[in-house]
């Protein structure tokens, strides 16, 4: 297990490039100026606006987003599965790429054919149930270990 202090965030790397002293002061616990706090709030708002614009132009047609909605916790669960289980492996990465290619067409079909839509919903629910089961098993094991 690596020590926490070995991990460096991208923003810390950027801050060092900006000014090493600034990072030193941050770790020394120096207080953030009120002007900077206000700037941070403005920055967060601008990022939210950027996200809204990006989502508006979002061409991802996740079937899960179609079935449950883009911000649904179940959709988020599948996204996490993509990022943690599928994307790190070369053997499964192509599945994600293939999914991105085919899902827009599938969603269009789902919108026009209720029977395909029903099958898609059933499949999404099955996948989610499998994932929930996978997540529960280690929890149960760790519960027993305690």
């Amino acid at each position: 297990m690596s020590r926490k202090s070995e991990w460096i965030s991208a923003s810390e790397v950027g801050r060092v490039e900006f000014c090493e002293k600034a990072l030193e002061l941050k770790y020394a616990g120096a207080s953030v100026s009120t002007k900077a706090q206000a700037a941070r709030v403005r920055g967060d708002q601008a990022h939210e606006q950027f996200n809204v614009q990006a989502k508006a132009a979002d061409k991802r047609c996740f079937i899960a987003s179609h079935v449950w909605g883009i911000d649904d916790p179940r959709t988020e669960c599948l996204r996490q599965f993509r990022d943690t289980a599928l994307m790190p492996n070369r053997s499964t990465r192509w599945l994600v790429a293939l999914y991105y290619r085919l899902s827009p067409a599938l969603v269009t079909v789902c919108r026009h054919l209720p029977i395909v839509d029903a099958v898609a919903r059933w499949l999404c629910a099955r996948v989610l149930a499998k994932l929930s089961l996978r997540a529960e098993v280690p929890e149960r094991k760790s519960g027993r270990a305690k």
């Binding site: 790397v13 090493e20 770790y27 100026s33 950027f50 290619r101």
Partner: protein, 189 residues
């Protein structure tokens, strides 16, 4: 002898069923590969404005977990990632106006390295302020990408572990925007 003949016929039939199944599965998989390759290769890639491509990842705040690169112990998340037929570009958005600083590019590269740790083969970064934007191609190898930012990463790690900064870089504009300027003894007046 009749039962042996019947058994053999049955065996041959199940064998041909099996071979037929394998053949149809193979044709189906080949079809998928052909369609995928066609979709992946069609049309030119838009390298000047990657945000016109498909959005594949978006940082939606605290609920979005960062990426971790276990090899280089770098974590982070770009603001968004776009995929133009296999050409992934990570976007670093800065909410200010004005030019792009070297520190913005370094931060974007570090975030791209972290994303590579989770399997996103980021090939370029785009740094975007409210008034300007710049696209930078990244080296294909993670080692080469790390080499470009290794000085900053190692310095940040050293400072995090308690060492003093080698030197401050006081500049009027930088110090004015620094969050810690009130506590800094080296700040530009």
């Amino acid at each position: 002898m009749e039962w042996i003949r019947l058994e053999l016929v049955e065996l041959m039939r199940s064998y041909s069923d099996l071979m037929g199944g394998i053949l149809y599965t193979g044709i189906f998989l080949l079809g998928i590969i052909v369609v995928y390759t066609f979709l992946a290769l069609r049309g030119p890639k838009n390298l000047t404005d990657p945000t016109k491509a498909d959005l594949i990842w978006l940082d939606e705040g605290r609920s979005t977990k960062p990426f971790f690169n276990q090899t280089y112990k770098v974590l982070g998340k770009p603001d968004a990632m776009y995929n133009d037929r296999g050409y992934i570009t990570a976007v670093e958005y800065k909410s200010r106006r004005g030019r792009i600083h070297a520190s913005d590019i370094t931060q974007a590269k570090a975030a791209a390295l972290a994303a590579r740790g989770n399997g996103y083969q980021v090939k370029a970064v785009m740094v975007k302020t409210k008034t300007t934007q710049q696209v930078i191609s990244l080296p294909a190898a993670d080692t080469a990408l790390y080499d470009e930012i290794s000085d900053a990463v190692e310095m940040a790690r050293t400072i995090k572990q308690g060492a003093k900064a080698r030197s401050a870089k006081p500049e009027l504009r930088k110090c004015a925007s620094c969050a810690y300027n009130a506590s800094c003894s080296d700040r530009a007046a």
